[in-house]
């Protein structure tokens, strides 16, 4: 179906009952598959929500964007988080992660917020 090694995939949605995910492949192209099949694709995470960022290890992270609307962007901006902000997780195992921003400011996000902040390793690209 045109999914090839080296391609970037984005998980855009998880089914309400779980187990099945929706992927965006190309702009406008959407596929549904099961998490088992997704695991078999042997993907390497490029961008993760902050809530799961411990999968990147303790590399410094960079905010890639937000999974939400303007309100979320403004709220996060007010707390010093915007696309490009570099940060380091202090306690990634917690569901409400604590972190330090590049400037040294400490910050703790709620669980719901952490799910909507998308981060990538700062050394990527």
């Amino acid at each position: 179906m045109g999914i090839l090694p080296g391609m970037a995939l984005e998980v855009t949605r998880v089914a309400p009952l779980g187990g099945t995910v929706e992927l965006a492949v190309d702009p406008g192209q959407r596929l549904a598959l099961r998490s088992g099949e997704l695991a078999a694709l042997d993907c390497e995470p490029l961008v993760l929500p902050l809530s799961h960022a411990r999968l990147f290890g303790d590399r410094p992270l960079r905010v890639r964007g937000f999974a939400g609307g303007r309100a979320l962007r403004i709220r996060m901006g007010a707390r010093g988080l915007q696309p490009g902000t570099v940060l380091r997780l202090l306690d990634g195992a917690s569901s409400a992660p604590r972190m330090v921003l590049a400037g040294g400011d400490p910050l703790t996000l709620g669980r719901g917020e952490a799910r909507r902040v998308l981060v990538e390793p700062a050394d990527a690209h």
Binding site: M1, L4, L17, G19, A24, P27, G28, A32, R34
Partner: protein
Amino acid sequence: MPTDRVTVALSAIPNTGKTTLFNRLTASNQSTGNWPGVSVERKTGRFTLGEYDVELVDLPGAYSLSPATQEERIVARYFLEDPPDVVLNLLDARNLYRGLGLTLQMAMSGLPMVVAVNMMDEARAQGLRLDLEALAEHLGVPVVGISARTGEGIPELLETLYRVIRHPETTRPPHLPCPPVLEEAVRDLTRRLERSGVVRRLNPAFVAMRMLEDPRRPESPELAQRAADWRRRIEALTHAPLAVTCAQCRFNAARGLALEVTRRHPPGPDPRSEAIDRILLHRWLGLPAFLLVMAGLFQLIYGLGTPLQDLLARGFEAGAAWIQAQGLFQSLPGWLQSFVIDGLWQGVGVVLSFFPIIVLFFVLMSLVEDSGYMARAAFLMDRLMHGLGLDGKAFINLLLGFGCNVPAVMGTRILSSPYNRIVTMLLIPFTLCSARLQVFVFLAAIFFDARTAPWVILGLYAASFAAVVGIGLVLRALRLAGRPEPFIMEIPPYRLPTPGTVLLRSWQELKDFLYRAATLILAGVIVVWLLTHLPPGEPPAGPGTWAGRLGHLLAPVFAPLGIHWQETLALLFGFIAKEIVIGALAVIYGTAELGQALAAGMTPLGALSFMVFVLLYTPCVATVAAIRAESRSWRVTLLSVTLGLTSAWLASLLVYQGGRALGLA
């Protein structure tokens, strides 16, 4: 006057609007059959193009000619063994990249080809501009922009097709850059093929590629061996399965080509679909919305269909009365009168009684499918059905089985894999359809008091769910229906269905039902009539008839279930349809006061055991006929009947003996 027969193969990846184009080109002039050796439908249609009589073959939707799925194997085999005169390849304008992989493979075959780019109207609406001339130049074949939905570009397409049929030019196959070892292998095999001197219409390089991907195809043993050797060498060098390597070069070329012909990019994903899905696939709202849609479907099909069925049934009774009043009829001997009314006429009535719900069912299912909601439903329900090895779409069929099993079985053809289709049609007969409900309501009112009866009915519904899940798990564990396939499905953008396509589809389903299932239904009804009326002279359904004797013969089998020979006989009638079980009991007991007669002879526990049997065994001859028609396999049909009878017997035994052990009898 059309003189020459030309075969044109219509090929496309799934979700490109292939069926819409097929219907538009061939209108009602279509016929269906089977692809050799498999239970995949082979649809062909005819239309006239100038002096040519064109046979359009609808190829199954496949993503490539590499033999990964059953559909792809069919298409690949068709190209190699029976290449068409012209290939008509269809692309989705909004999704060129994914479709071009197949287009490139087809173009490599060297067969004369026309490419139609569909959904140009929607692409324009999204702000997409395509340079079709550039595409034609790169592919080396004519390209026409169309919209199968609105009919835009169809005259141009026909004109181009006519030109290509008239002057079939062997196309210049596009060259795909591949890893050197793969190119070398293709060159080597091509040379050998050319040397073998077989003249063929297919490009040798194309055949060489096919041989590499599927070395079992025997050109000659040496060549097959050679291809297998190359395949091993390539896989060792590239560290990847050959299919992946091939897909990679194909889609790299497709990506480049798609980029080159796209003049203006669309503003990302279809915003309208995104907006709708934010609600319909929402974490919390998605499931309630789905249940609402399902409730609406159910109500529309059966709420509208059942009154129509009643109307038809009344018409049939009136018809029977009219026939009986005719002088000619009355001059016939009694047994023949009965055969005409209770055999033939009733058989025709059973067939016709399904018409309203089949039409409604397919009108609504086409709407759900063509609009794109079916894929969403599959996405929402997938987890639930996964345990049974099915995908989410099967849920809809099973749910609609609770209204009537027949259209639900016919609807399994929308499911994606043969495994899904077969398992689902084996499970549907265990859903508690409305005809069975009539039997249960009648019996529950006789044997249980007003407080208990509703709970008995509810319990039977629960038993029906449990049976579906239980049998599903057994089928999966025993692999009676093959292996489940991985679930990967495209989620298409929402589309407005066209009334023409929806109506044409429903009409065809109805015709199919008539052709494929009607004879079997009629035969079933007549067999039961013969059993219950022969030998001549016996009172119908009496103990002296063959059916009565069969009932007595089977008595030892049914005795442990607490079911007497009279009820056994009624179960035999139940093969025709569950609606007539109660009527049959009245005939067998020979009384109008059926309730008293039943209550006198049967305990509530025996009645419950009887109801469980009715719930689980074969729903009706029409369902059996539909399963036979859809699976095109007597093995599956037989399996369905056997599964029903065995599970019914076991469950009734458990209920009756378990109840007795608990002291309920």
